[in-house]
């Protein structure tokens, strides 16, 4: 009897594996060692959205809490704190408010206040109406508007130090204006506009006026562009004049933008300033409240008195801004 040939079990396995294919084998082997069923959490669609929203907002809110909320709370509490120079320790006090009062009675604060008011009037009373007229002119496709609107934007894009430097050289005794005044108009002495006290503030105001010529124009142009042509055409058919169009159509229709600029200008009442740091950093006669605060922080690292003065201004300006907002909200609204 012929002895039955016993096949090597490994070769049998190989043959089977070839026959059933690798993946089938893998499946069978896996079946021998069953895996624990994974507890994969199925996240709800709305939960996913919420996670996305808060993931996006987390860092901006944290940033806001640190750089806005904390900084401003610290500024408010600074008004009630001071530092003991001998020990270097902070202590709580109401004395800062008395010192602020002293600044007004004994220091130059009233002068800074007058200057602040002048810069504010220039940026509000002058800039807003003239920006409306400028916007109207461009909106009505006046000649040269394309060139003018690019040129009007140039002072905003050029570095203020560079622009101020060129301007002061241009009008100086050695510059173009000085040369013309001396040789054409026979002016005996061209003043150093920003170095002489009697001309410095006027020079700063003129500079702010001249290069702030565009004013709020950019903002208003967007608002005026949204006024429907049909409305204006209908008004023309009724025979409105240009002034009537501006007063009764354009201003009411762009009022949300206009009122916003009016409210923000009132809320920034005590912060109005000019290019003092560039032209007259050492001439106190030209300083404003805003520049005094900046100077105290930068030069002396003095925190408490500027913070106190700032808090006083906030207490005064906030109700004013809110009142202006209420008044402007009621204007040009229909019941």
């Amino acid at each position: 009897m012929e002895k039955e040939k016993i096949e090597n079990p490994k070769s049998i396995q190989r043959k089977r594996a070839r026959a059933m294919g690798f993946y089938e084998l893998k499946r069978r082997v896996s079946a021998l060692f069953p895996k624990r069923k994974s507890r994969k959490k199925v996240i709800n669609f709305h939960t996913k959205q919420k996670i996305f929203v808060w993931r996006v907002l987390a860092i901006p809110i944290l940033n806001f809490l640190v750089f806005w909320v904390y900084a401003n709370l610290d500024a408010i509490t600074m008004a009630f704190r001071n530092i003991d120079m001998s020990t270097g320790m902070e202590y709580w006090t109401l004395g800062n408010f008395g010192k602020v009062l002293d600044l007004f009675t004994e220091g130059n604060m009233l002068l800074y206040g007058r200057n602040t008011l002048m810069f504010w009037l220039l940026s509000t009373v002058w800039a807003i109406p003239h920006s409306i007229m400028l916007t109207y002119g461009f909106h009505k496709k006046m000649a040269g508007r394309k060139v003018f609107r690019v040129l009007l934007y140039i002072p905003s894009i050029i570095c203020s130090v560079a622009l101020a430097g060129i301007f002061s050289s241009f009008i100086s005794s050695n510059g173009a204006v000085g040369y013309i005044l001396t040789n054409v108009f026979n002016v005996a002495r061209v003043p150093a506009w920003f170095a002489e006290q009697e001309f410095a503030l006027g020079g700063l105001l003129f500079y702010s006026f001249f290069f702030g010529f565009a004013g709020q124009y950019i903002l208003y142009s967007g608002a005026m562009a949204n006024i429907s042509n049909e409305i204006t055409e209908a008004a023309y058919m009724d025979g409105v004049t240009m002034w009537q169009e501006i007063l009764y159509i354009d201003i009411p229709l762009m009022w949300p933008t206009l009122s916003m600029t009016i409210v923000t200008s009132f809320s920034g009442l005590f912060g109005a300033s000019g290019p003092i740091l560039i032209f007259t950093p050492n001439m106190e006669a030209t300083w404003t409240f805003g520049y005094w605060i900046f100077d105290q922080v930068r030069r002396f690292q003095a925190y408490y008195l500027p913070a106190t003065l700032g808090l006083c201004f906030t207490i005064i300006a906030f109700p004013i801004a809110m009142w202006v907002k209420n008044v402007t909200d009621k204007m040009f609204t229909t019941e």
Binding site: V66, M78, G137, Q301
Partner: protein
């Protein structure tokens, strides 16, 4: 209906006063523009003169072109032993970084507020409006101290401050995304995409119309900023601060042509950017106030 005077928008017939107004406006703008353009050309002309030429004949063209003034300006633009190249680098990172980071963050926050409903949305929106209305004058002292306490001043870590977007800056993107249909987001969900994909692959590319001008405006503002640099970056000065110190110095060491060359060097990048991208910026700004 009786029409006193019929005219349409393109009709040029106007009353004499209206015509006078337009003529006056044109003349005022023309004179203003002529002075500004002449002043800038004059500065360029003076930057190529010798100092003697500049003092004696400020209105004439340069006899010879003295480009060496630009080299002198490059040497003079130095603060705390940091030269032109160092300041150029600081100008770049201090302007490109905030432009990209803060604009992207403002877009993200604006997108979330415009496209999603979530608890606390009204409250957070109210906070943003409140921060815009409340006048805060005394916060400079606290911010200054905070910047130094957190060691963000004179450091690249300053860019952390730009990772915000929660404030008035998000209102423009908010208006833009509010006008976009929510169906695009739903189409992404149907295709198995996530909220991240919806923003980065669909909404963000579509928002380049506002991203580019907003980023450019931030870049220009940061490039030109010297006041914040003076406060927080005295050891990492940018070109604007270098020019500021150069201007202070020029009062004692008179070399005006070199100073003009310096101003032109600092102005150049922004002016070149404006020339190439003015259509983009101006178009967005003037045709509807960045509404897209």
């Amino acid at each position: 209906m009786r029409f006193r005077r019929k005219r349409d928008l393109l009709d040029k017939r106007r009353t004499i006063w209206e015509k006078m107004f337009f003529i006056l406006l044109f003349l005022v703008l023309f004179v203003w523009a002529a002075i500004v353009v002449y002043m800038l050309l004059w500065a360029f002309m003076c930057s190529l003169k010798t100092n003697l030429e500049y003092v004696n004949e400020p209105l004439t063209l340069p006899v010879q072109l003295h480009f060496e003034n630009f080299k002198i300006a490059l040497d003079k633009l130095s603060v705390n032993n940091i030269g032109f190249l160092g300041m150029l680098w600081h100008s770049l990172w201090q302007s490109v970084g905030p432009a990209l980071i803060s604009t992207t963050m403002a877009l993200l926050v604006g997108y979330v507020f415009a496209q999603y409903q979530f608890p606390g949305k009204a409250f957070l929106f109210g906070v943003i409006v409140f921060t815009m209305l409340i006048p805060l004058y005394g916060s400079m002292a606290a911010s200054y101290r905070l910047m130094f306490d957190l060691k963000l001043a004179n450091s690249y870590l300053y860019l952390i401050k730009c990772v915000g977007g929660f404030g008035g800056g998000m209102l423009v993107p908010y208006g833009y995304f509010k006008a976009m249909p929510k169906e695009m987001r739903e189409a992404v969900y149907v295709d198995g995409g996530s909220d991240d994909i919806a923003f980065w692959k669909v909404y963000f590319p579509l928002s380049r119309n506002i991203f580019i001008p907003l980023a450019m405006l931030t870049f220009i503002a940061e490039w030109n900023d010297f006041q914040n640099t003076l406060l927080y970056f005295d050891k990492m000065p940018n070109l604007a601060l270098g020019l500021y110190y150069f201007q202070q110095e020029i009062q004692y060491v008179v070399n005006n042509p070199a100073y003009f060359a310096g101003t032109l060097i600092v102005m150049a990048p922004v002016v070149i950017l404006f020339i190439f991208a003015s259509d983009k910026i101006m178009g967005q700004l003037y045709s509807g106030g960045l509404k897209g």
